[in-house]
């Protein structure tokens, strides 16, 4: 799982989703779930491959947890099919599925010790007490909790509870581990440490993970691929870099990170450049995008960190617009600006504070905001 490899240097065994011939491990086929008159999950299809750490990302009520619960078997789909390792899950109750789940509340049994919690699933498999406890001990070692085996859940800290829940869900060596907001209950600092811990464990055991989260940073850090959900549907599936750099819609562009969005019309296209005519920014030069007809309504999306600010108009900039700095927020490693454009609209710009600037751009200064064609993402929906 080499996340930093150049995107084009594919090895099909580490990125099987790029190989059209690869056999998916989990097949979600046209799954719909309705509660009375509310459709929680709407015709979702998704393939997930062995060894992936797949994140379902979305706001609250987008259906991501319902989808996860259907995989675990706690909810029955209203329509569609779920295949795990080629086996149809329709009539398989949760206790017979090859999946285990880590619950958002951790759901540690309050009347059992840490060790008993972890051994519970093994005992249900018919393992002997001795074997179950031995395996539970090994698992606790993996999550570095072997010294707390005899404690009760209420005697543990939040982070310790989280690791017990993880150990309990992993001890049966499930083919698939489902994690519902696994880090949601931890504070920020602990969460960051635990993210890498989670990746380490996943890589050690080679289990396929599906993680539900509402936190985009978490999804970006953890995932091999992300599925962005909105109103019960999957709106985009892709690697973290794709989702951020090449969002397929205004929703995804806006949901992941922060973005400037302006409406426009597709204009002249040349082989290496195309023009989008916007009301706010004027003509914008972008990389050509196939499949656009001239005059079609499109949106340009520009990330704030891809925009440069200068007092003078840069001579060689492909795109430059004048404006006045309305607000500056100093945030340590970077500063955020709100620049008022001629038409009154705001442009968000962030600049990294790489050096200690003696004379930083400040309030009420007239500035030029410039960006390259590559910084512009043209969206059709």
């Amino acid at each position: 799982m080499n996340r930093t490899a150049a995107p084009d240097a594919i090895a099909a065994d580490t990125k099987p989703w790029r190989d059209p011939g690869a056999e998916p491990f989990i097949g979600i086929r046209n799954i719909t779930k309705r509660f009375d008159d509310f459709t929680a999950v709407d015709d979702v299809s998704l393939d997930i491959y062995r060894g992936e750490l797949f994140c379902l990302l979305g706001g609250s009520g987008c259906g991501k947890s319902t989808l996860l619960r259907m995989l675990a078997g706690f909810e029955t789909p209203s329509a569609g099919q779920i295949l795990i390792d080629g086996q149809d899950m329709a009539r398989v109750p949760p206790d017979r599925r090859p999946t285990n789940m880590m619950f958002q509340s951790y759901a540690l049994f309050p009347h059992m010790s840490v060790e008993k919690n972890v051994a519970y699933g093994l005992l249900r498999e018919g393992k002997s007490r001795a074997e179950a406890h031995a395996r539970a001990g090994e698992m606790l070692k993996l999550v570095k909790l072997e010294s707390l085996a005899r404690r009760k859940p209420h005697q543990l800290s939040g982070g310790q509870r989280q690791r017990v829940a993880l150990a309990r869900a992993l001890v049966k060596q499930p083919k698939l581990l489902l994690l519902d907001e696994p880090l949601g209950a931890l504070d920020k600092k602990l969460r960051e440490e635990t993210q890498f811990e989670l990746i380490r464990i996943q890589e050690t055991l080679g289990v396929t993970f599906i993680v539900v989260t509402h936190d985009q940073d978490e999804a970006m850090t953890l995932a091999t691929r992300i599925g962005v959900m909105n109103e019960g549907a999957i709106v985009q599936v892709g690697e973290p870099r794709e989702i951020y750099e090449e969002p397929n819609s205004r929703f995804v562009a806006d949901f992941i990170g922060s973005v400037n969005l302006f409406e426009g019309r597709a204009g002249m296209a040349a082989p290496d450049m195309m023009r989008i005519d916007t009301e706010v920014l004027g003509p914008v030069n972008a990389r050509p995008r196939p499949g656009l007809t001239q005059g079609q309504t499109v949106w340009v999306a520009i990330r704030p960190e891809r925009i440069g600010l200068s007092r003078e108009k840069p001579a060689d900039a492909a795109n430059a617009v004048p404006g006045v700095v309305e607000e500056v927020a100093y945030r340590g490693h970077m500063s955020s600006y709100r620049v008022r454009l001629a038409g009154g609209q705001m442009l968000r710009v962030t600049q990294s504070n790489l050096t200690r600037d003696v004379d930083p751009i400040s309030w009420d200064e007239p500035v030029w905001a410039s960006f390259t064609p590559a910084a512009v993402r043209v969206l059709t929906e």
């Binding site: 206790d95 285990n100 619950f103 759901a107 005697q155």
Partner: protein, 267 residues
């Protein structure tokens, strides 16, 4: 309303109202005089009289047997009703069961008593069971309204319980029955204990329903006490009351201490 004299005064008067009669009951149980409210010196003679009263002792034994049986069956039925109502989603007859498991809480006792008696009489005529009335019919009658109380207590505990505990056990390979005994039951056990105790006390306390459905030879303690006090105050009843109050107070205080200890655990 938070400051000032009104609230504390009202609360103090309220507690005086609640406790003055009980205190005087206990004080006069140690009275030498037969006149219950005129102090004639300290004496335990009414306690001696009470322990020589075969009728009262017999009735107390009957009442304890009934209360034990009724509370136990009621805990089983009430727990099942609560479990079904909180965990089974929608099913046919759900509304009916909700109503039937709640209405006995407030149903006037005379109605419950009379209707159950008429049921038992009709059943005896058509089915031949129950033959006559006595312990069995009282136990059934008490079980019914006690089960409603247990169901209320168990339902509120089941609602508070994190349902993902049960799902986690399912997820780890336990079947539904297994989950109930491994997870649900241990988690709600404290609520069931208090439900059982409440049912036990309610059964021990009931006069009206028992009077309707009881038969010859099955007089419960409240029935005997009622026939005594109907004729006026009687000092051995004071002694009985003092004993009951002592037992209940001890039990409640112990329960309270246990509860406090369990609450002190960080959640």
């Amino acid at each position: 309303m938070a400051r000032g004299w009104f609230l504390p005064l009202a609360v103090v008067l309220g507690f005086v109202f609640l406790y003055a009669p009980i205190v005087s009951l206990v004080v006069f149980s140690f009275n030498e005089s037969r006149l219950v409210t005129v102090w004639g010196g300290f004496s335990t003679r009414w306690y001696v009289a009470l322990f020589n009263d075969r009728q009262i002792l017999g009735a107390a034994w009957i009442s304890l047997k009934i209360a034990f049986a009724a509370a136990t069956i009621a805990t089983v039925i009430g727990t099942l009703a609560a479990f079904v109502l909180t965990r089974f989603g929608s099913f046919r007859g759900r509304l009916l069961l909700t109503g039937m498991a709640t209405a006995p809480l407030v149903m006037p006792e005379v109605i419950t008593g009379l209707s159950l008696l008429l049921l038992f009489v009709s059943m005896e005529l058509t089915l031949g069971w129950p033959a006559g009335r006595g312990l069995t019919t009282i136990i059934i009658a008490h079980t019914t309204f006690c089960a409603a109380f247990v169901a209320v207590i168990a339902q509120s505990r089941l609602r508070d319980m994190d349902e993902s505990l049960e799902e986690a056990a399912r997820d780890l390979g336990a079947g539904p029955v297994r989950v109930f005994f491994d997870i649900t039951l241990p988690v709600i056990a404290p609520a069931l204990v208090s439900g059982w105790l409440l049912a036990f006390t309610l059964s021990l306390d009931d006069l009206v329903i028992a009077s309707f459905v009881s038969g010859p030879g099955a007089s419960t303690l409240p029935m005997v006490v009622f026939s005594k006090v109907r004729l006026g105050v009687s000092p051995d009843v004071n002694a009985l009351a003092a004993i009951i109050i002592a037992i209940v107070t001890t039990a409640v205080l112990i329960a309270g201490l246990l509860l406090r200890r369990s609450m002190r655990r960080p959640q």
